[in-house]
Amino acid sequence: MLIEMKGIVKDFGPVRAVDHIDFTVNSGEIIGLLGENGAGKTTLMNVLAGTFPPDEGEIFIDGNKVQISNALHAMRMGIRFIHQEISLCNDLRVFENIFLSEELLRKNGLLNKKEMINRCLKVFERMQVQIDPNAIVSTLQPAERQLVEIARALLFKCDLIIMDEPSTALATKEIKRLFDIMRQLKTEGVSFIYISHKMPELFEICDIYYIMRDGKLVAHGKFAEIDEQQATELMIGRHLADEEFLNKPYYGQEEVILSVKNLSGKSFFDISFDLHKGEILAITGLQGSGRDLLADALFGAEEYTGTLQVKNHTLKQGSTIIDHMKNGIGMVPRSRKERGIHNDLSIYDNISMAFFNTKFKRLLIDSRREKERFLRQQKALSIKTDQPKNPITSLSGGNQQKVILGRWLEADADILLFDNPTQGIDVGTKFEIYRLIIELAKNGKAIIVFSSEFPEIHKVADSCIVLYKGRINARLNRDEITEMSIMYYSTGANLEAVKNG
């Protein structure tokens, strides 16, 4: 089977996530799709797998033009997409998940459980994994769930399997097994598109590379013809604008404003560090490193043990979000749409929301003061709108993010937590946000940026904590922050070496 995508374009609001991409998959080919976070890889794959239609462009299968209208449609055409976030129904059994929407029936129309379970067992055998098809998915380990997803793709006849960072949840042994399965299927003519950040894996399993940057295809060819260094350079690109951030001065002051001691929670353990006024600290780590929950815990949105010393106050177990806010901690949360904005509310109200909670002492809200608050932040953050009474959704992602930031500035937060602050924001505005972060540090705010994007950390951070399996694995100074060192510590390579050595 030959799949061709031609001139694919996909916009999300003002952000062009995929920009005129041509992509060809021959049968029995393993393609590595590379790019930084937000380069548009997943979006392109979603178009191919029918999650949403492209805004422009055409897809051909064996020379015939097709419209892939939904995921089921894509499956019928032999395209399977294994998403990065595991998309199993937790309350159903393994075999029920595997056969979801394609259940086998007996002649009388009832489910043929026996046959389904048998087929599951066969697939698991082929994959050499031991998972009980009757187990409830919620009782499985994350790695096992990932394998169930893969089994689901393998079970049915398919010509193309798309895997979005499948190895994140898998251990080395399981990855090896996965590669064996992929190689075998390749000989049977099945093609793969393999999205990953891990160079060694890509070079091991993939034949062809496609590299995306900022929604555009920057290079493609054979892996045999490049090395890791070249691939990385193509992926990151050398932006002129980078230089602006190269010589960022350190604005940190003497005063320690936040002192974290032995903080532990569900997925992070024994975290301790100091943060100075005017300092920008980055905290990074792979998915599952506890980064997300640590961010929430520092804001009081997640339970923790241990203490946070803010100036002269101590926050400890049981402190609420309001307690944290009153001590001057503010958070620009990750997943802006789900956790940041109120899409029904006006820009005015969105900007004033935290202010209402900590500073507002009157009975009635005065619209003149609301306007003042907005104008102040509009000026400080250059929020681009002329109708602040409109819902916040009328703004672009970057401007929405500025509104959320303005929310905390109006609440007089001294410590600002930015959790994945440039998610879904176009490049230009990203840089604006970086400049703002640095500007805020210059004015004495203490800042923690939680991020998985190296270019982001590289641009703004004075130092960087790298988490591995919920613990601090390294604290790097500004001159030690390189893509290599961050990858090294966040994959726990240093610890593995100790174990093996």
Binding site: F299, A301, I321, I322, M325, M331, P333, E338, R339, G340, I341, H342, N343, D344, L345, D349, S352, M353, A354, F356, N357, T358, F360, L363, L364, I365, S367, K371, F374, L375, Q378, K379, D386, Q387, P388, R407
Partner: protein, 329 residues
């Protein structure tokens, strides 16, 4: 910064009118229809009649607006009115004091509302289920208490208590009944609460996005409890008024289908059924519109048995229209 205060263009204005003030349009259309069906419609006596009829459900609809704006629903309001008005009359007959009865009604309503709120916020129950159970409990208890007979106001209190619903004042020669005043005053009060207080903003924030609200420091559970409490309080007030209007509360039928009327009023008024958006003025007009429709239908000799079908249809149409509007945005 002139641009911030830029005037809307004409096209924007029309769009805005349709999107945000559609309830005014439907209200005016309905008025035109009502006048064409019934030439006496705009007489003062008919207008105050509609207001008096609307008051009991309209006052509750203000609370329902809050509940729905916070992303919840309360279907126990009808049964609440039944138990509150029934037991209220018991208290009245026992104490001979309208005001003790008044206090009792508010207290009982607030209590029931708090229970609803606690079930939803602390017990993590879906509001539909929690208030359905509460509806069943209230109705059953008052039926048991009444043993089939009505709760009747005793002769001693008859003349004084009757005035709550039947009394009126005169302003510039216009007779204005108490229930009309109550409805209007409550509407203004709730309009201010929803537009201009922290509580109102928080209610919309919670209804719009619980996660974002929590992460902006809003006490989400507190908001969820308080909207039900306020609705209970209003049911208490409305139960008191209802008792005075009927003077004999039949346990099985009192406040019947109020939840439908109230939710319909909120829906016609343009409040988003998924929370986060809505205006009290919309609910105010919505409640009136509901009665005006009834008024028109009565004129057209539609049997009262069909009222339920009509309120159901109104809710469906109103919410479908909302969806269409949201899509076109």
């Amino acid at each position: 910064m002139v641009s911030v205060f830029q005037k809307y263009s004409f096209k924007d204005l029309i769009k805005k009118l349709f999107a945000e003030y559609s309830y005014w349009l439907s209200f005016i259309l309905l008025l035109i229809l009502a006048v064409s069906v019934n030439t006496n419609f705009l007489r003062w006596s008919n207008i105050i009649n509609i207001f008096v009829q609307t008051a009991t459900t309209g006052i509750i609809a203000l609370g329902m607006s809050m509940v729905i704006s916070a992303g919840q629903i309360d279907i126990s309001v009808g049964a609440q009115v039944a138990i509150i008005s029934g037991l209220g009359i018991v208290v009245l007959n026992f104490t001979n004091s309208i005001w003790l009865m008044f206090a009792f009604c508010l207290l009982l309503g607030t209590l029931i509302g708090s229970l609803n709120g606690l079930m939803v916020a602390k017990g993590n129950m879906p509001a539909m289920i929690a208030t359905l159970a509460m509806q069943s409990i209230c109705r059953s208890l008052i039926n048991q208490w009444g043993q089939g007979g009505p709760f009747t106001v005793s002769n001693t209190n008859f003349d004084t208590f009757r005035l709550v619903a039947a009394g009126s004042i005169r302003i510039f020669g216009f007779k204005i009944p108490y229930p009309m005043i109550m409805f209007i005053v409550f509407s203004i009060l709730f309009g201010i609460i929803m537009r201009q207080t922290k509580l109102g903003k928080h209610i919309y924030a919670v209804g719009s996005n619980t996660n974002s609200a929590r992460l902006a420091g809003v006490n989400v559970k507190g908001i969820q409890i308080i909207v039900f409490m306020i609705t209970g309080l209003l049911c208490g007030f409305s139960g008191w008024l209802y008792a005075s209007r009927v003077m004999a509360v039949a346990a099985a039928s009192a406040g019947n289908a109020y939840e439908m009327e109230v939710i319909a009023a909120v829906a016609i008024g343009g409040t988003s059924m998924t929370g986060g958006r809505g205006k009290i003025i919309g609910t105010f007009l919505g409640a009136l519109m509901f009665k005006i429709i009834n008024n028109i239908l009565t004129m057209a000799d539609v049997p009262t048995f069909l009222n339920g079908a009509i309120s159901g249809a109104i809710i469906i149409v109103a919410v479908l229209l909302q969806n269409v509007q949201n899509k076109s945005k």
